[in-house]
């Protein structure tokens, strides 16, 4: 168990940056930068162990109960 204080939040982990070297519409940028689902219930999100090993991880957490279901390394794909 680690203290919550050691972690820093990085937001929705399902948001993907538009591909490089490709024509990107304003709407695609809008979705990447601003638009979020932010629902009640299960939520995949990024956390950084900032006061520890400094690794980024993906966490599946319930936004109403804070229960954590699963964690992945930053480079592992989420299978929805």
């Amino acid at each position: 168990m680690r203290s919550q204080n050691e972690f820093s939040y990085g937001g929705d982990a399902t948001v993907k940056r538009p591909d490089l070297n490709k024509e990107i519409s304003d709407q695609e940028w809008d979705n990447f930068v601003y638009n979020r689902k932010s629902l009640r219930g299960k939520h995949w999100e990024l956390w950084q162990h900032i006061s520890g090993c400094r690794q980024w991880i993906k966490v599946e957490r319930d936004t109403a109960t804070h229960e954590i279901f699963m964690t992945l390394k930053a480079n592992e794909e989420i299978s929805l």
Partner: protein, 418 residues
């Protein structure tokens, strides 16, 4: 409607206060309305009131899933101000300040609006410069602003830490003398009572669970108490905006976060205004009952919990004690939280949508209580006239797409970055 007055108070005292009318009724929902407002918080109630008062639209229902005033309107720390730099925010908020000053008379309900002033503390020369600039912008927009030096701040809040060896010494502050506080419950109840008296149906314990949309046009809502048809629908659900947006197939520039606040045990009067710490996020005022009312940062991650976690509270109160050391001696009486519709630039959205007849009011972040009258007034205008008013034209939904952000502080949802 029975008028609240000293005369009626005396009269009813003789009848042991058994004969007062109910402040609002408990109607069964009709099949159809001209306008349905979703959410019986401050903004929904104010919108219904101004629809009736300013636009003569009274065939209106407010649909509230719990009880009116049970959301953020009953959970906030009641700070009312218009100390903004950007024109859109300043003019909108100052229009609201005018409505606040008249509100108790207008609603025939004592909302205890108390213009006791707000001071934002500065802790460096650079911050003093930024405040001077904001103060000048405010004054150009007709809003009162006074730049205070260290000594002037000391005179007003001698209990703050003015000792020599502190991490964040007080250099001065920016004061808006006309800012203040009000009794939040009274605001919800006052709007509800007047709206009800003009024919608005306030329907509590009724949750909107879906929408009836066809051909790009809204026809009504599905609720836990059956379907209700409406020509126009206004969304005023604050922290539940993302949940209803999903049912509308919309993805919005909004994230749902949790904000906590707390009050101490009541003490003798020590602080007559509102003070904010300038080197972090902490603010404080003293309630009429004597409790110190305090708040600060978001918990920092998406949350619907409506109750907060201790690390954030500890962090916020550490800032408080740095600013006013005497706070460490006080016992905490209550803490609570509310879920907040955090917009990505920190400013709200009051606009039409791509669905005909559907109007959106959200993104209030920390500052939606003070906006209650102006938000209700402009949203009612937007719904009634099917076009935005000049005052809320900056609060458009597509500003994120076009790049016309209203980033007063440049923080958005990631307020912990500051």
């Amino acid at each position: 409607m029975q008028k609240y007055s000293i005369f009626n108070l005396v009269k009813n005292a003789f009848a042991n206060h058994q004969n007062w009318d109910l402040a609002w009724k408990d109607p069964t929902p009709k099949k159809e309305y001209d306008v349905v407002i979703i959410g019986g918080g401050g903004h929904g109630l104010a919108t219904a009131y101004y629809l009736a008062k300013e636009h003569n639209i009274t065939n209106v229902a407010i649909i509230e899933k719990g009880w009116i005033g049970g959301g953020n309107v009953g959970r906030n720390t009641t700070i009312i101000r218009s100390n903004y730099m950007h024109d859109d925010n300043a003019l909108f908020s100052e229009f609201g300040m005018d409505l606040w000053r008249k509100m108790s008379q207008d609603l025939n309900y004592n909302v205890m609006f108390s213009p006791r002033g707000i001071i934002n503390l500065a802790h460096s020369d650079a911050q003093m410069n930024v405040y001077a600039r904001r103060g000048n912008s405010m004054r150009l927009n007709g809003i009162d602003a006074v730049l205070l030096n260290r000594e002037q701040v000391r005179e007003i809040i001698p209990m703050a830490d003015f000792s020599e060896n502190v991490r964040f010494p007080i250099f001065g502050g920016l004061m808006q003398p006309s800012a203040g506080t009000a009794r939040h419950d009274a605001v919800a109840w006052g709007y509800a009572r007047q709206a009800d008296s003009m024919g608005v149906d306030i329907i509590q314990n009724c949750e909107v669970i879906g929408f009836d949309i066809s051909g790009g046009k809204i026809n009504g809502v599905r609720t836990s108490r059956g379907d209700i048809k409406a020509k126009k629908i206004g969304l005023c659900v604050a922290g539940s905006t993302n949940v209803l947006a999903e049912k509308l197939n919309m993805t919005l520039p909004i994230e749902t976060h949790l904000l906590q606040a707390c009050v101490s045990e009541p003490v003798k009067p020590v602080l007559d205004g509102v003070v904010t710490f300038g080197a972090g996020h902490f603010y404080i005022s003293q309630s009429d009952k004597g409790e110190m009312v305090m708040g600060g940062d978001l918990d920092g991650y998406n949350s619907y919990a409506q109750r907060g976690n201790l690390p954030t509270l500890q962090h916020v109160l550490t800032e408080g004690i740095a600013m006013m050391p005497f706070l460490s001696k006080l016992k905490m009486l209550r803490t609570w939280g509310g879920i907040m519709d955090m917009s990505m630039d920190g400013s709200p959205i009051i606009d039409k949508t791509h669905i005909e007849g559907l109007y959106l009011n959200c993104g209030w972040c920390y500052g939606g209580f003070k906006a209650t009258p102006a938000s209700g007034w402009t949203f009612a205008h937007t719904i009634a006239q099917d076009r935005v008013h000049e005052l809320n034209s900056g609060y458009s939904l597509n500003r994120f797409n076009t790049g016309h952000l209203l980033d007063e502080k440049g923080l958005g949802t990631k307020t912990w970055i500051s």
